[in-house]
């Protein structure tokens, strides 16, 4: 029975031979078969929809303060957190059914703010890796392909950046970018970036900061990959046809090493998300009142004894997002290289 079916599979595959599957097609199939990864994709899609249609979905405005409702919570939240005892039962919690997750200490709707917070986290999840890829892959390509003293300088630079406390660097960058408003003449590039940052609620410089501090791993990985394909015949062929180094790097080497790089970068996405949350936590993230999960956790953590809902709902959203990205990253890696399952 078993041999029969395996024969059948072999036969079917033979029939498929005229149109073989590419690496990406078969990887995609393996990814789809990974239930956890698919679940993760759906969670990310869900949050993406929340982010895109936040204006339509959110029940209120994220800035509006209803001071009469400050620190209030609906009944179901008090049931969920048994230590939150409503006033009617001799406790201290104001019951207000208008706010589904409750209201924070300024009377702002927590649910609305969680929904809007999705925007920051997802944007960081997209833009952070892109910045890191741009810097890291560029440096890695140059370093690996040119070799010699260029390679040496770039790799020493990478070493120094590695040993440098990321936290300090990112905080200094924030401090450097932030208070520059008004320092630049109107119309200059500095002024343009400042306005851009202001209009994105302070997100631009977070992206820049995260990207600048996260490219090192990418540079090392890219360099290693370049070294492994640099001596291939197709590179030699391109060179003997007179292609310029730039063209060889971008047209011939890059497409061949992109797979592992993208997988490695996908795996680091949760780190970007938690970086942003951390920055907002210490008050260097988005400008208030733009909601960010990190800032909400930081504000809510102060009142964790009395109003756990204020910190734990944004924490749950943050957790779900990171969880989903981790599953998708793992799934993608398994799909592209099944032998690597569970490895770093």
């Amino acid at each position: 029975m078993a041999t029969k079916s395996s024969h059948k599979i072999a036969y079917l595959e033979a029939a498929d031979l005229p149109k073989p599957q590419s690496l990406w097609q078969s990887a995609f199939k393996r990814l789809i078969r990974n239930r956890l990864a698919v679940m993760g994709i759906f969670v990310i899609l869900f949050f993406a929809l929340l982010a895109i249609f936040a204006e339509q979905i959110a029940p209120r405005d994220f800035r509006t303060q209803v001071l009469a409702a400050s620190n209030s919570a609906p009944l179901w939240v008090t049931k969920l957190f048994p230590t939150m005892i409503p006033i009617s039962e001799g406790g201290y919690v104001k019951i207000n059914e208008d706010f589904f997750f409750g209201a924070d200490n300024l009377g702002r709707d927590i649910m609305t703010r969680v929904i809007y917070g999705t925007r920051v986290s997802l944007l960081v999840a997209i833009v952070g890796p892109i910045v890191a890829l741009l810097i890291g892959v560029t440096l890695g390509l140059i370093s690996g392909y040119l070799g010699g003293w260029v390679d040496n300088i770039i790799m020493r630079l990478t070493d120094v950046f590695y040993a440098f406390p990321t936290l300090l660097f990112i905080i200094l960058l924030m401090a450097f970018f932030r208070p520059t408003t008004g320092r630049f003449e109107p119309g200059s590039i500095g002024d343009f970036f400042n306005r851009l940052d202001g209009s994105t609620g302070g997100m631009l410089f977070i992206f820049v900061g995260i990207g600048i501090t996260s490219w090192m791993q990418m540079a090392r990985l890219t360099r290693g990959q370049v070294l492994s394909v640099r001596e291939m015949e197709y590179v030699l062929a391109a060179r003997s046809l007179g292609a310029s180094p730039t063209k060889i790097m971008l047209r011939h080497i890059l497409p061949n090493i992109l797979g592992p790089i993208i997988v490695a970068e996908t795996l680091t996405i949760p780190r970007y998300i938690s970086y942003e949350a951390f920055l907002s936590f210490i008050g260097l993230g988005v400008n208030p009142p733009t909601p960010s999960w990190g800032a909400m956790i930081s504000e809510g953590a102060v009142a964790i004894r009395d109003y756990p809902n204020q910190a734990l709902f944004p924490a749950l959203a943050l957790f779900l997002t990171m969880f989903a990205f981790n599953f998708v990253g793992d799934g993608l890696r398994d799909a592209l290289d099944p032998r690597m399952r569970g490895a770093e």
């Binding site: 957190f81 440098f164 949760p270 210490i282 964790i304 924490a315 969880f323 569970g342």
Partner: protein, 327 residues
């Protein structure tokens, strides 16, 4: 190694000076004359190179002091070795981090002396949590590869990676501090105060360690010497415990180095959430305050820990794998 330390000190020095604002530019509008006088007193008006050399001199050059030496806001050394044989009250003093620019009645040395032991206790506890949970989970997952145990362990590991301390902290506080009332939510001083923050910090690390242990052990188990060990009839416990784990632990130790450096010098989030008077808070606050000397002090301390941790890692390689010789 020394190049990295040197580079870090220069980069930090230049970078923090590039950032607009200074330690004395507060929002209260201090008269410019006073700011000028303060700048002069702390030699902030001197050329940058001179300031840098001045600072490094205080830090690196040991000094012999006689009995007239008193600890002051400008002179406060970490290492003080009494040398009474040279005369009464003579001592060799080394590593002066200088005065704090924001807290002007304290020295950076004093701040480090106060905060570092706390941060180290927390860091060691967190590291223990990470290793004690991570290594066994990773081992079980590798030994029972592709079974329910494996999938369960690796799911827990992904869970751990997805819960940074910023989430785990409030959650633990609520569950154990507020609802069950078994552990204090904030504060510092007793063993009980240590448990929650150590878990909040260590759980994520344990997930990373578990994944790494599993991957590394899987690789080792396919080696020839494991087959040899089994073939000569050693018990499974010896094969795994002595032959396999000892080799598989090397990559784990490698990541433990930087991890330990980061944990020992404090982590801001957990220290803030749990109200722990550690070094992480001083560090983050110092950047906002433009407390140049404190920034330099904490960064160099971190870099030094990193270098030392990596050195220890290199030394342990030889311990676990005699084939790796130290050159």
């Amino acid at each position: 190694m020394f190049f990295v330390l040197f580079a870090i000190s220069v980069v930090t020095f230049v970078l923090m000076r590039l950032v607009p604002g200074g330690p004395f530019n507060t929002e209260r509008g201090v008269p410019p004359a006073i700011v000028e006088a303060l700048n002069k007193r702390y030699k902030l008006d001197a050329p940058l190179v001179e300031q840098y050399i001045d600072y490094m001199q205080g830090l690196l050059v040991p000094r012999l002091t006689d009995r007239t030496y008193r600890r002051s806001v400008v002179e406060d050394y970490i290492i003080n070795i009494p040398m009474d044989f040279l005369g009464e009250g003579v001592a060799l003093r080394w590593i002066n981090f200088g005065p704090s620019l924001a807290k002007r009645n304290q020295t950076v040395t004093g701040i480090i002396r106060d905060g570092l032991p706390t941060s180290m206790q927390l860091g060691i506890a967190a590291l223990l949590v990470g290793v004690v949970i991570g290594v066994p989970i990773g081992t079980i997952a590798a030994l029972r590869q592709n079974t329910g145990w494996d999938y369960l362990s690796m799911s827990v590991a992904i869970l751990g990676v997805s819960i940074p301390s910023i989430i785990l902290g409030p959650l633990l506080q609520y569950i154990f501090g507020v609802t069950l009332k078994v552990l204090p939510t904030t504060g510092w001083g007793t063993i009980n105060h240590l448990i929650l923050p150590a878990f909040a910090l260590g759980f994520t690390e344990s997930a990373l360690i578990a994944r790494l242990t599993r991957a590394s052990l899987l690789q080792v188990l396919r080696e020839d010497y494991i087959r040899t060990a089994r073939a000569k009839g050693l018990s499974e416990r010896v094969v795994i415990g002595v032959h396999a784990l000892k080799n598989a632990i090397i990559p784990v130790v490698t990541v433990l180095g930087p991890l330990a450096a980061a944990l020992l010098t404090g982590t801001f989030v957990v220290e803030t959430l749990f109200g722990i008077p550690g070094l992480g808070r001083s560090f983050v606050l110092s950047i906002g305050n433009r407390d140049y000397t404190l920034i330099m002090g904490t960064v160099l301390l971190y870099a030094m820990f990193l270098v030392v941790a990596n050195l220890i890692v290199d030394l342990t390689y030889a311990l676990f794998d005699p084939r790796i010789r130290l050159h």
